[in-house]
C-alpha cells in the first residue's frame, strides 16, 4: 500500500526516544535495585553477623513465601485488580495438608489436594470478580475471612506436626554443601515462567493493556475477563504452594499460619514499582522490593531492633516510595512536553 499523501516526505522512525542506558538505568526498578544494593552493603558493614552465610540462608527461607506469592500478585495488580486472600489460602492449604496427612492420606496426595484447593479458591475469587463483576478489593477481603475461617474451622486451635522427614528436610535442604537453600530453585523456575509470561508473551501484553485501559483492551480483542480469571487461579495455586512450603519449613500445619502475609506481599509489590492503579510495573522491581524489605527486616532484627520499629521503618519506606512515584510521574509529565498530565494533554488534542 502506498502512502496517503504523495507530496509529504518519507518519515523515518527511531524505535526509542531515549538512549539505551537511560532506558535501562533511569527506571523506578533500577532505583529500588540500587537501594537494595546500598542497604545490603551498609548492613554487611555495620550489623554484626549480617555477613554470615547462615543469615543469607535464613533470609532466603524467610522470604520465599513472599517471593512466590508476589509473582502472580504482580500480574494481578498490573491488571488493576488485587488479591487480599492469598495469606488465607496459605493457611487453608497448610491445614489441608496437615489434616489429610493426619488422616493417613499419603503426603504426596495431600499436596495435590492442597494445590487443587488453592486453584479452586482462586477460581472462586476470579468468578466473583469477572463473572459476577464485583470489585476484587471487596471480593478478596471477603474470601480472606472465608478461607481463614475454613482453615481454622478444619483444624481448630491445634496443630499437626507429624510430616514425613524426607519432605521437611527437602524444604530446608541446602544445595550440595553450600548455604543456598534448594527451595530457591523452585522459586527461580517459577520466576522464569512469570517473567516470560508477563514480559515476553502476547498474554502479558494483554495484561498491561487491561491495566492501562480496560475498554481499549476489550475493543482490541483482548480477553479481559478470561485473563483476570486465569490470574486469580494462578494466584490461588501459588499461594497453596507457598502454604505447603510454610508447613514443611516450620514442620507445623496450623489454621493461623501466615496471617497478615498478604500485606507484606502487597507492600513489596508496590515498593517494587507496580502501580496500584494498574498498567505499570515489572518483575525485577518486585523481586528487588521483596528482598529490600526482607534484608532490612533481617538486618534490623540482628541489630536488636524491636519488631514494632521494623514495622514503622518498613511502613515509612513504603509511603516514601509511593510518594516518590507520584512525584517522579509529575516531574516527567512536566518535562516531557506541553504541560499537564498525559490524559489532560490528550483531551486537549482531541
Amino acid at each position: 500500500m502506498t502512502t496517503a499523501t504523495a507530496t509529504a516526505p518519507v518519515r523515518t522512525y527511531r524505535d526509542y526516544d531515549r538512549p539505551l542506558w537511560q532506558r535501562l538505568l533511569l527506571t523506578r526498578e533500577m532505583a529500588i535495585i540500587a537501594l537494595l544494593v546500598i542497604v545490603a552493603i551498609v548492613a554487611t558493614a555495620t550489623v554484626r553477623g549480617f555477613g554470615q552465610p547462615i543469615t543469607f540462608t535464613y533470609l532466603i527461607l524467610d522470604v520465599t513465601p513472599i517471593l512466590l506469592i508476589a509473582l502472580p500478585m504482580t500480574l494481578i495488580m498490573i491488571t488493576g485488580e488485587i488479591d487480599l486472600s492469598v495469606a488465607s489460602i496459605v493457611g487453608l492449604s497448610s491445614v489441608l495438608t496437615g489434616v489429610l496427612t493426619q488422616a493417613g492420606v499419603p503426603f504426596e496426595a495431600a499436596i495435590v489436594v492442597a494445590l487443587v484447593a488453592g486453584a479452586i479458591a482462586g477460581a472462586v475469587n476470579g468468578f466473583l470478580v469477572t463473572v459476577v463483576g464485583l470489585p476484587s478489593l471487596a471480593v478478596t477481603i471477603g474470601t480472606l475471612a472465608l478461607y481463614r475461617g475454613l482453615a481454622v474451622g478444619l483444624l481448630g486451635t491445634t496443630a499437626v506436626t507429624d510430616f514425613p522427614d524426607f519432605w521437611t528436610d527437602l524444604a530446608k535442604m541446602k544445595l550440595g554443601g553450600s548455604n543456598v537453600p534448594a527451595v530457591l530453585l523452585l522459586f527461580l523456575a517459577l520466576l522464569v515462567v512469570f517473567v516470560v509470561l508477563l514480559h515476553f508473551t502476547p498474554f502479558g501484553r494483554g495484561i498491561y493493556a487491561i491495566g492501562l485501559s480496560k475498554s481499549a483492551a476489550h475493543f482490541s480483542g483482548v480477553h479481559v475477563e478470561r485473563t483476570k480469571f486465569l490470574l486469580f487461579v494462578m494466584s490461588g495455586t501459588i499461594a497453596a504452594l507457598a502454604g505447603i512450603y510454610y508447613t514443611l519449613r516450620f514442620g507445623s500445619a496450623r489454621g493461623d499460619n501466615a496471617t497478615g502475609l498478604e500485606l507484606q506481599v502487597i507492600a513489596a509489590v508496590v515498593l517494587g514499582g507496580v502501580s496500584v492503579f494498574g498498567g505499570r510495573g515489572a518483575i525485577h522491581g518486585v523481586i528487588a522490593g521483596v528482598l529490600l524489605i526482607g534484608i532490612l527486616a533481617s538486618a534490623l532484627r540482628l541489630a536488636n531492633v524491636t519488631s514494632d520499629v521494623i514495622n514503622i521503618i518498613t511502613g515509612v519506606l513504603l509511603v516514601a516510595s509511593v510518594v516518590s512515584n507520584s512525584f517522579l510521574a509529575w516531574l516527567r509529565t512536566r518535562r516531557r512536553a506541553p504541560g499537564g498530565t498525559a490524559r489532560a494533554r490528550a483531551s486537549a488534542a482531541g
Binding site: 516470560v196 481499549a216 483482548v222
Partner: protein, 522 residues
C-alpha cells in the same frame, strides 16, 4: 438553520451574521504571545482580539496552537513573552481562579458536572446562597436558576439530577454557570463535536443571546458550516502562529482552508469509483431491546456504506454489537458468509472484521502506552514466534504502519496520548489495518481532526475500498457521508429509516430520514 448546510455556504448564511462592531477597546487582546515547553515551542506568536458583543471563531489544524492559546487565557499556562490585555489592561494569570475572577469562562468539550447533584446545585456549586441561619437557601437558588434559564431561553428542569443529561445540556449548564458568574468572555472549545443537529441549534441560540448581551465569545471548531452560521469574525492559526483575522462575510471555506494548511486542498471528499463485488458483511434482523431494532444491511467488496443519523440514533451501538463488544438479543452477523458468534471481538477479528471506534481516547487507544504497543496490540498473537514476543517484533510492525500512514512522531516509543488527535486516529487506523481486515467499520473517521489529516483519511478510505475492502462508515458530518459513501443508510431512533444510493443522496433527504418518523424506504 441546521448544521447540515452545505460546506459551500449560501447567501442566507452571510446575511444572517453581523459584521464586527466598531473598533472599541477590545475585550481581550493577545499579541505575539510565546509559550514553549523545554525545547518544544507550542506557540510561536499567538495573537487574538475579542470584541464585546461578537462571536469570534478560532480555527487551525491540530497542533496549530489553539489549545495552548486558550490555556494561557484560562490561566492554566503562563506565557513566556508577548502581551495579554483584558479591557486594555495588562494581565498575567498564574491560576485558573484569577482568570475566572477576571470574568473569563472556558467551556470544554466534555463538561464535568456532579452527576448526583441537581442542575441547580451544579450551577451554584461552591457559592450557594445562604439564608440568615447559614443554611443553603434552596428557594433562592432555584429561583435564580430559573431566571437564568429563562434569560438564556433554555428548557432544562432545574430540579433534575445532572446524571443522564445529554452532553449538549451539560454544556448549556456550564454556560449558565459562567453567565451566573457574570463572565464577560466565554470560550467554547469544540462544543459541538459530540452534538446532534437540533442540539447544535439550541447551543447556537444560547450563544447568540449571550452575544446580544454584549459578551465576547470565542468558538473553536473544525466545522466550517457552523462557523459560517454562527460567528462574526474568524482568526486562523497555523504552526503555533497567527495567520489572519477576517470578518466572516469576507472569507470563504476555500480561503480559510488555504490559510490553515498553507496550501490548496482541492478535494475534501475524494471517493473514487471502485468495482463493487460480493457482499462481505451481512447483518440481518439485529435487535437489542431499547437500543436498536431489526437492523439489516450488507456491505460489499469495494463499497463504502455511509451510516448517517443524529447522535443517539443507535449507529455506534449497532457497530459495537456487530463487532462483538456489545451484546444483542436476536439477529445474525456474517462475514464472507460465515456466521459470527455474539460478544466475541476476537472471533470477529479472526474473520477479518475491524472496528475503528467512536471514542479514540477511551476505546481506540491505550493512551498511556506507546505508539508501538498500540499498533501491535491486536496482532500481538501473530507477531509472536513460538509464543514469544519482544519489543523488536512490535517495533518492526509499528514502523511499517506508522510510515504508511505518516504518523507524525519521532520515535515509536512516544506515548500515544501525547500525539495530536489526527495522529492518534492514524495510529488507530494503523493498528486495525495491520490486521489486514476484509471489512472495516469506522465510526466518526474524522471527528476532531484537522483538515489536512481529514483529507488524508478520506483518501485512504477510498484507496482501501478501491482494493476491495468493504467499509461501513458512521459519520455525523453530512458532507463526509455524501462525498464518500456509495450508499447511505440512515438511522433514526434505533431503526434504519432509509437506504439511499449515492446518486440520489442529498442533504435534504438524508436529513429528512434522520429526523422524521417515516423515512424514504417504507
Amino acid at each position: 438553520m441546521n448544521r447540515f448546510i452545505q460546506i459551500h455556504l449560501d447567501e442566507e448564511a452571510i446575511v444572517q451574521t453581523d459584521p464586527p462592531q466598531t473598533p472599541a477597546p477590545p475585550m481581550l487582546e493577545l499579541s505575539r504571545v510565546v509559550k514553549s515547553f523545554g525545547p518544544v515551542v507550542a506557540l510561536r506568536s499567538g495573537s487574538l482580539r475579542l470584541q464585546s458583543g461578537s462571536i469570534h471563531a478560532l480555527v487551525g489544524e491540530n497542533g496549530a496552537g489553539k489549545s495552548t492559546l486558550v490555556k494561557i487565557v484560562a490561566g492554566l499556562y503562563r506565557r513566556d513573552a508577548g502581551e495579554f490585555r483584558l479591557r486594555g489592561e495588562e494581565v498575567d494569570f498564574t491560576s485558573t481562579a484569577q482568570s475566572k475572577a477576571a470574568g473569563i469562562a472556558v467551556i470544554y468539550q466534555e463538561p464535568t458536572l456532579f452527576p448526583d447533584l441537581t442542575v441547580t446545585e451544579n450551577i451554584f456549586m461552591g457559592r450557594q446562597p445562604v439564608n440568615r441561619f447559614g443554611r443553603i437557601d434552596r428557594k433562592a437558588m432555584r429561583r435564580e436558576a430559573e431566571e437564568l434559564f429563562q434569560r438564556l431561553g433554555v428548557r432544562i428542569d432545574p430540579d433534575r439530577p445532572a446524571e443522564g443529561l445529554s452532553i449538549a445540556d451539560q454544556q448549556v449548564i456550564e454556560i449558565a454557570k459562567a453567565v451566573s458568574l457574570d463572565a464577560r468572555v466565554l470560550i467554547m472549545d469544540e462544543p459541538t463535536a459530540a452534538l446532534s443537529g437540533v442540539e447544535v441549534d439550541r447551543l447556537f441560540a444560547v450563544a447568540r443571546s449571550l452575544r446580544d448581551e454584549g459578551r465576547a465569545l470565542l468558538f473553536i471548531s473544525h466545522r466550517f458550516d457552523e462557523i459560517f452560521a454562527l460567528c462574526d469574525t474568524v482568526t486562523v492559526m497555523r504552526d503555533g502562529a497567527y495567520v489572519a483575522t477576517t470578518p466572516i462575510a469576507e472569507t470563504t471555506v476555500d480561503e480559510m482552508v488555504r490559510q490553515m494548511v498553507g496550501r490548496d486542498v482541492t478535494e475534501l471528499f475524494p471517493k473514487t469509483p471502485a468495482e463493487i463485488g460480493e457482499p462481505l458483511l451481512e447483518v440481518e434482523g439485529l435487535t437489542r431491546a431499547g437500543v436498536f431494532h431489526d437492523i439489516s444491511f450488507s456491505v460489499r467488496a469495494g463499497e463504502i456504506v455511509g451510516l448517517a443519523g443524529l447522535v443517539g440514533a443507535g449507529r455506534s451501538e449497532v457497530a459495537r454489537a456487530v463487532f462483538g463488544v456489545d451484546p444483542y438479543e436476536s439477529g445474525s452477523v456474517r462475514i464472507g458468509g460465515k456466521g459470527l458468534p455474539k460478544r466475541r471481538p476476537d472471533a470477529a477479528i479472526r474473520e477479518g472484521l475491524a472496528l475503528v471506534p467512536e471514542d479514540r481516547r477511551k476505546q481506540g487507544l491505550v493512551l498511556e502506552s506507546s505508539v508501538s504497543r498500540n499498533v501491535s496490540l491486536v496482532i500481538r498473537g501473530q507477531l509472536a514466534k513460538a509464543g514469544i514476543i519482544t519489543n523488536g517484533f512490535e517495533n518492526r510492525a509499528a514502523k511499517v504502519w506508522a510510515s504508511r500512514l505518516e504518523v507524525k512522531t519521532n520515535a515509536l516509543s512516544t506515548i500515544a496520548g501525547t500525539l495530536s488527535g489526527g495522529n492518534q486516529q492514524k495510529v488507530v487506523l494503523g493498528k486495525w489495518l495491520a490486521t489486514e481486515p476484509t471489512v472495516l467499520i469506522i465510526d466518526e473517521p474524522t471527528r476532531g481532526i484537522d483538515v489536512g489529516t481529514k483529507a488524508e483519511v478520506h483518501r485512504l478510505l477510498s484507496e482501501l475500498a478501491g482494493r476491495g475492502m468493504g467499509i461501513l462508515m458512521i459519520s455525523s458530518e453530512l458532507p463526509e457521508v455524501l462525498g464518500m459513501a456509495d450508499r447511505v443508510l440512515v438511522m433514526r431512533e434505533g431503526r434504519i429509516t432509509a437506504e439511499i444510493d449515492r446518486a440520489d443522496a442529498t442533504s435534504e433527504n438524508v436529513m429528512f430520514a434522520a429526523t422524521h418518523a417515516t423515512g424514504a424506504h417504507s
